[in-house]
């Protein structure tokens, strides 16, 4: 049976932006620019693993203030309450809004954690050459890419609430520093997913470019 070949084995580079194939004629394994879209061409994303590590570690550090600091403070008829992401979910549960509590819990807590764990597994498995199923790992990577954006949900909710609920002493919602940290976590994990080159999962001979 014939062995399926990759573009790399055939001396070809696939442009990461437009998908065009080009001959790998350049030095250090990359041609300067894509003949079609003019983007920089690389055999594999430059320093993919190191960059993904850096973004992931920063995201993990910021995840602490994102969950400890209040994302907003709700003042209602004189009594103020600072909400973190978790207490926000608990408040919704107490009010009986189970579907919304579930949505917020998935988008703000479950997805960021699972995303960071998945990226960690991907990085470690590529670097330490763990014998995991390549197809499943690629599938996991695509899931990370796909769901990441939905974690921005809480940030948009805060933006709407602070603008709407401004009734002076009667009712007021003010944003908190936790929102900044949380927004950064979402952006950093999205960037980490972008910098990770899924083809590294399938390359058995190399670890980093």
């Amino acid at each position: 049976m014939k062995q399926p070949a990759t573009a790399r084995q055939m001396g070809l580079i696939r442009c990461h932006t437009c998908g065009k194939l080009a001959f790998d004629v350049g030095h250090d394994g990359y041609e300067e620019h894509c003949p079609r879209c003019r983007a920089h061409m690389h055999m594999r994303a430059t320093n993919s693993l190191s960059r993904t590590w850096a973004l992931l570690i920063t995201a993990a550090i910021l995840y602490v203030p994102a969950n400890v600091l209040p994302i907003m403070t709700v003042t209602y008829f004189g009594s103020g309450q600072a909400d973190t992401i978790m207490t926000g979910v608990i408040t919704l549960l107490q009010h009986g809004s189970y579907p919304v509590a579930a949505v917020i819990f998935i988008a703000s807590i479950l997805v960021p954690v699972l995303k960071m764990v998945a990226l960690l597994i991907l990085l470690l498995s590529v670097q330490l050459k763990w014998a995991l199923d390549d197809r499943q790992r690629t599938c996991m990577y695509r899931a990370v890419e796909l769901v990441g954006r939905w974690s921005m949900l809480d940030i948009f909710v805060i933006a709407l609430l602070v603008a709407l609920v401004s009734f002076g002493s009667i009712a007021q919602i003010i944003s908190g520093p936790g929102a900044t940290a949380f927004g950064s976590v979402v952006i950093l994990t999205m960037l980490a997913a972008t910098t990770f080159d899924a083809r590294l999962i399938w390359d058995k001979e190399v670890t980093d470019d």
């Binding site: 065009k20 194939l21 954006r149 709407l160 929102a179 390359d203």
Partner: protein, 221 residues
Amino acid sequence: MYFMSSEDDTLSLKSIPDNWIACKDCDLLLERVDTPLGEKALCPRCDNPLYQPREQTVERTLALTLTGLLLFIPANLLPVMSLSLVGQETSTTIYQGSLVLFNEGLYWTALLVLFASIVIPFCKLLLVLFVSAHLHLERSSALLPYAFRYYHYLDEWGMLEVYMLGVLVAVVKLKGMASIIPGIGLYCFVALLLVTTLMSSLLDEDDFWKRIEQALKRQLR
């Protein structure tokens, strides 16, 4: 779908056949086979969607982009919803949320909201308008590859659908506190979301790139 074999003689390869493609996620080299319109071709090794040919992609994309741009102004300038409590009423538009965050000192978060919900979706529409109008009129421009590249880069950073879910969550959170009145801006926003979602799904990136390549070749002649 046909596999290339590593045993094939690569040294004799003088030019890359037009129907060769490589998988984005696993680098597998494949020969492109025409699939029926609208049908997704998947990578046999990693299940990554490779391409999905769309019918009249340029014309449909152009029409939807123009509709989207028309809806963009009312969706952003008219109030999304109003809230009334003990005789007082407040309302918000999409950009006001970002403005309030800015005034409260959360500059970074304010920018994030502004970009994800307004600036990037708007830039995406403008870039696609530029590209699809050129392709439709069979005009060429040296800027075409750049414009479409930036559309590709910005694609995942526009988050209208997440914003929409945010509106629904905000409504549920507020419903016990005060009465909520949906604004005209909200209806325009829902329409904008539908139009842009449809545009993204009908836009055949692969076909666009091929047409851009042809347009540039025509220009050189």
